[in-house]
Amino acid sequence: MNTPSTARGALLHTLQRRRWRNWLALLAGLLLLVAAMSLSAALGVQKLSMATSLRGLFAPLLPQAWLSDIPRWQIELLQQLRLPRIVMAVVAGAGLALAGVAMQGITRNPLVSPYTVGISPAAAFGASLAILSGAAGAWSAPYLTVAAAFVSAVLCATLVLAFSALRGVSSTMLVLGGVGLTYLFSALTASVQFVATEQQLSAIVQWTFGSLNGSTWNEVAIAGGVLLLGAPLLQWHAWALNAFAAGGDDIAASLGFAVGRVRAVVTIVAVMITAAVVSFTGVIGFVGLVAPHIARLLIGGDHRWLLPFSAIVGALLVLLSDMTGRLLFAPVIIPVGIVVAYVGVPLFLHLLLSSRHKAAL
């Protein structure tokens, strides 16, 4: 259209402005994330200046001249201890938030989190079995725990999906099946705790707190890899998620979306990302449930924007929580799974009270 009417022109203009504003918000979020990462890198047992920490973070990419005044071991420290932990925090936060958005979208239920299909207690059960087995054999105990947690989580999700597929993969079946399996796996984990020795029990309980301590690059690579594969898949289905949110299965079908298939794919991706994260870090709760809502309050319910924004919100939440947990009672580390709620709830409540989108939930 070359000559739109004034009313249409005004509308177009507003739309254009809104799009620019969204891009800007996204960019601002990314910058904030980078700033938080640098801050997290600078703070710690050895306090470094921001400039030093930034240089150390990007050391492999920078010319030697820029790094000459930093001792070798400090760069090692940044690269091998702090950076993997920071990246893991970002991966965990973004992954859980994305999975949360996906699950909330396809079940049309704002109270749903990535753990709704029962992944969290299933992973805890797998881990507790591994811990119970004593791991005194050839297996390296940590890897056994990770593998067991992952397998258990995926098994649980498969059960839920298969079960709900009997009824055409409806959202109600997913939630109900997930609730049932949650209770089952919680009871199984409690049973394992019941027969564990005191040391094993303490290890199991600590695992459920969620922790980023001692994250290695291997772990980051695996979890990050799954996230990098899954995130674009979810973004591809953004319109489908909009359709689901708009009116449910009937409407989505009438708009041409293959309801059952989309739901299965999205659930599987969400489950894989969550399981990959949780197997390494333990159960970090709250992020998957609330980061999507915080993002929704800030940027609206259109999944094309909601997905990336939730990822950023989730990453920031976990990163800040990890920082707080590290510094508050140093040198003792408070597990990130505990701090996340303390950090996130006031923020969430504040947004709720001051929001104009009162009906957003």
Binding site: R18, W239, N242
Partner: protein, 259 residues
């Protein structure tokens, strides 16, 4: 254009037992024609629309659109051919009105269709007087406003066949007229067939080319209102004796008493 033969739908519910909701319905809608489905509550009007749209699977039916069998079409092709406006969209999560309408373009979207999509969406907004609401959140709106938005979504879907389920039940007179006029324009301008399930007999008669009267899943009568809006039919279908008259070539039906 739309040809439905012997459509039956049996609902097997544990509580109610097997019930025959639709019984061997024959129906057709021609291009550019508005056909209104009328009948009492529970007659099966909504179910009929859902069966045609393949949202509800029916037993024994031969349904074709422009000669193509509906059941053989892919979901996407079906969505391109048939636009469906449900009775009411349940509590949706926060989505902007304009994004809600834009969903109608989903089956048509290609990598280079963004400009055309935007144009059609804006045109629909203008047509249905939705500029003020365009950037508001869907779940904050009233029932009437939501109905108009759903109609706009059907508009941009540009289907050969438009299925409307009670599009005017929540609207005031002004917007009732607007909605039905829009349906008439779609039929005329795009040559689409329009099938509307509607309660209001007068409104239906004013705009429809043909009426189809349903009772308990069966077609009792179909044709022009002059032929089928008779006291006998009204009593048979609705169970009331009514006063039927006409003014300016438009009928009115006023229920008087139970016979």
């Amino acid at each position: 254009m739309l040809n439905v033969e012997k459509l039956s739908y049996r609902h097997g519910g544990r509580a109610t037992g097997d019930r025959l909701i639709l019984d061997a319905i024959d129906l057709h809608v021609n291009a550019g024609e508005i056909v209104c489905l009328v009948g009492p509550n529970g007659a099966g009007k909504s179910t009929l629309l859902k069966c045609i749209n393949l949202i509800q699977p029916s037993q024994q039916a031969a349904m074709t659109l422009d000669g193509r069998a509906l059941v053989q079409m892919s979901r996407r092709d079906l969505a391109r051919a048939i636009a469906y406006v449900p009775q009411q969209s349940g509590t949706a999560m926060a989505l902007r009105v304009i994004d809600m309408i834009a969903l109608g373009r989903a089956p048509h979207r290609r990598w280079n269709s963004a400009a055309q999509d935007r144009r059609l969406v804006l045109a629909a907004i203008e047509r249905l007087d939705l500029q003020a609401l365009a950037l508001r959140s869907y779940d904050e709106l009233s029932g009437g406003e939501r109905q108009r938005i759903l109609l706009a979504r059907a508009l941009v879907q540009q289907g050969r066949l438009l299925l409307l389920d009670e599009p005017t039940s929540d609207l005031d007179l002004h917007h009732q007229l607007q909605a039905m006029t829009a349906a008439r324009e779609i039929a005329d301008a795009q040559g689409s067939g329009v099938l509307i399930a509607i309660h209001d007999l007068a409104l239906a008669s004013r705009f429809a080319d043909r009426l189809v009267m349903l009772k308990q899943g069966r077609v009792v009568a179909q044709g022009h209102w002059r032929e089928i809006l008779t006291p006998a039919n009204i009593e048979a279908v609705y169970g009331v004796s009514a006063l039927i008259g006409s003014d300016h070539d438009i009928p009115y039906v006023i229920p008087m008493s139970h016979p």
